[in-house]
Symmetry: C4
């Protein structure tokens, strides 16, 4: 096997998803990425970190070396290396190798390791890519279609959060924990989204009244926004699947199936749809 053949083979394995080895490679890669995140998680536990410090560092370097080798191989076997390097995945791949090198200089850079998770997006390549992308696109297009309605609501919600946050600050004030307007607006968000941590609660009667109003507003916003988005999704789904708009030349029947060749009402042949 000469050099060119080797590069072609490596390319099929590393970039391809159709061959058995191509798929296997992606599965292994994603497992390694997840394993490297689990290692990061484990390393964040004080007790584990103290006890297995050496092992964790060793593994982290192992992962870093593997990803570095992988990155260099990708450049090596890519037919147009520069295009790969400057592509979205190319940049993510590069950044994914770097945290530990940077951490030699700045220890906290360590957590840049989570950038590696972005690489998990490759998972869509193993699964039947097109279908997933199609579904994502449908979702995004539906969200896009209802974007104006959502924006109107979002703006209303933003103004409400600011106004209610300011009101609670005036009513409750620093003596009840509402130290400043930032914290008060944060409280309004916590309440409107029905999260309700309870780290900051109103103590006065008027404050409780404002809180009750905020909750009901959040509840209503949830209901109305869900209604808007549902209606949009349904109307979009209908438009995609609806009939072919052909009218039977014999009896005038409409609402024919998309694949219809003959009229379901009179049996006459329908004009074909060329587009």
């Amino acid at each position: 096997m000469n050099n060119s053949e080797r590069r072609k083979l490596l390319y099929d394995i590393i970039f391809g998803t159709d061959t058995k080895f191509g798929k296997l490679f992606d599965v292994i890669l994603i497992s390694l990425i997840l394993a490297s995140y689990l290692l990061l998680m484990a390393g964040s536990v004080k007790a584990i970190e103290t006890k297995y410090n050496q092992i964790i560092i060793a593994f982290e370097w192992a992962f870093t070396i593997i990803f570095t080798v992988e990155y260099l191989t990708r450049i090596y076997c890519s037919p147009r290396p520069l295009k790969y390097i400057t592509s979205f995945y190319g940049i993510v791949d590069l950044i994914a190798t770097m945290p530990l090198y940077i951490a030699l200089l700045f220890p906290s850079a360590h957590y840049l390791l989570i950038i590696r998770l972005v690489r998990v997006l490759r998972i869509f390549r193993i699964l039947r890519l097109n279908n997933y992308l199609k579904d994502s696109n449908i979702l995004l297009s539906s969200i896009n279609n209802s974007k104006r309605k959502i924006l109107v609501f979002f703006l209303a919600m933003l103004i409400f959060v600011i106004v209610l946050g300011t009101l609670i600050y005036i009513v409750e004030g620093p003596k009840n924990g509402f130290n400043n307007l930032f914290i008060s607006v944060y409280w309004a968000i916590v309440t409107m989204t029905t999260v309700g941590y309870g780290d900051l609660v109103p103590h006065t009667v008027l404050g409780k009244g404002i809180a009750a109003f905020t909750m009901l507003l959040g509840y209503c916003t949830l209901v109305v926004t869900t209604g808007i988005v549902s209606a949009q999704f349904i109307s979009d789904a209908k438009n995609r699947t609806s009939s072919n708009n052909i009218k039977c030349p014999n009896c005038g029947q409409v609402d024919h199936n998309e694949q219809a060749i003959f009229c379901f009402n009179c049996g006459a042949e329908l004009p074909s749809l060329k587009k």
Copy 2:
């Protein structure tokens, strides 16, 4: 440029949204309003307020003077000043200039500054106004259409909140923090909207039973109300898109089917829709 021309130009810039300068003016204005709110937020933080007290006061006066000048200019260049002054935006604009003047007499009037946020509604003028208003109207009309159903549920919810609040007060009582009926009804709202602060929780077995029931009720209300609103939005969307807006020239019947050729009421031929 004479006086009248200057007023016309100022009018186009300040009130208009079509010209480049008109848009720019609105963008600057909204930025100033938001900046003035951010200043208010910053000023509410003790540490910042102590250190930069002078600067904050200076900026607040700067904003107030800018908004005052803007308000006066609006009156000056408006073709019908009185109509502007008594319009909704005119009153909001006036109030937006006043907090600091009033605060000279009553310091707490300071927070009236949030009224300025109402002016942010002008943002709809920069964006394609009509589309947004149309979407708002569709929303409001849908909400209006389902208002009776919502009212039935809302009344039911109100009665439930009062009854469950009273029950928890009887069961738990002041010794567990449920000091009075106001606080108990407040607890019922916190629980039914699934916010759940946790500042007030039942301690007895029976109280926990009532709480569990309240939660499940809130959960069900959320599901059912969302269903009602979604159904209403979808049915409204369908009605808007399904009829062809043609009026029968013979009998005046509307609401014809999209493919209709003859009026379903009198059988007369409908004018064809070419577009």
Copy 3:
């Protein structure tokens, strides 16, 4: 005015909702009921109760006497007193007068006053009754139609709540506040409905894992149940408004408007629908 006329007049005022006085009477009655609840609320606040004890008691007796007089008048002017007394509203009206009399013997019976709130249901009589009842009926029928699907989910949820409550009890145990199975199942309900008081939280890693699973399950259940109910409401709304199922005898066109007399496709007269 003789006795019989007086009774007729009183009947129209008290039971009727069509005349001006009949409406006014109902509005006053509901105001009195709400005022009597507000009095109960105020009386539950320690500070108010201590200070205005006498006044509160006086008012409570006043309300009781008013409602007693009203109840006796209802019996007096009712054409069939026995039918009224044994009707749903008759029983509610009677119970609404009694709390204070019973409280002479058992002080805690005082809170039976909330039963008066049930009388607020009369509000539907003032508003356009039929429309509201129709909407309620549509709601109830839709809920009824999806009852099997909801029951399947509800049973699943119940089993999940019990199983997850038991699991958290085994994992966390009394040392972390999960004292018994009742409290653990209560915790599971608090978590699944996304209320999340936070009075009882898992402390072990495994417990947090179970909690995370419970939350995601509650989140999914909310999404799916809302979807089921929305779909049911929409399909019901469609069935109510859908076409008349008549097929044009001339061209075979279907999907005619409910009021259609002529076919919208060929203009032929449709067979009339007698039912």
Copy 4:
């Protein structure tokens, strides 16, 4: 009554749901299962356990013996005992008898008693089984149809939870209770699902910003996922009711319109649907 007849009778009672005794048997069985769980609950309360220890143990053994006898009878009267033993219900029934026997060796095995709850699934046999199973199947098939869309969202949510958990860990760190990455990811789940226990809350300004973003993200995810699932349910419901289930006798085409007379694929006349 000979041996074979007795087995037949027992089989009808124990396995059957059509006869009066068969139904009664299932009702009693489910009551016993629930009673055995209530006993487990009661036994978990310290005060009750201390006082009635003997009675609880006696009852638990009584339940165990009843279920053991029932299991043996099922084997005895089953026409094909081996098939029953290896069936799903057979295995569940066996496990349901065992906890107490195992607990003689390992006391904590005691809680395996909750496995008995799985037997409650038999409840579907008493109710009109087929309808419920059909509804379950429709649900499952709808969920199945929207599985790709849900998976896309779920993956996105997973990545968000991990990234936001890591961010909050970096920003807040162990000094504010975010001791490790496991706990931080757990916090992100608690916040995104809008549960919001409040046992772990951000204390820094940046942390609160991340929390606010997490809440809004969770809120949006809820809205969008509900919209997706609703749209799927509605489109599925429509598909089920719109086609007439007739298969073209000429070309085998299905999915014909409800009013179809001719096959839209080959133009052949469809058999008419008389019912």
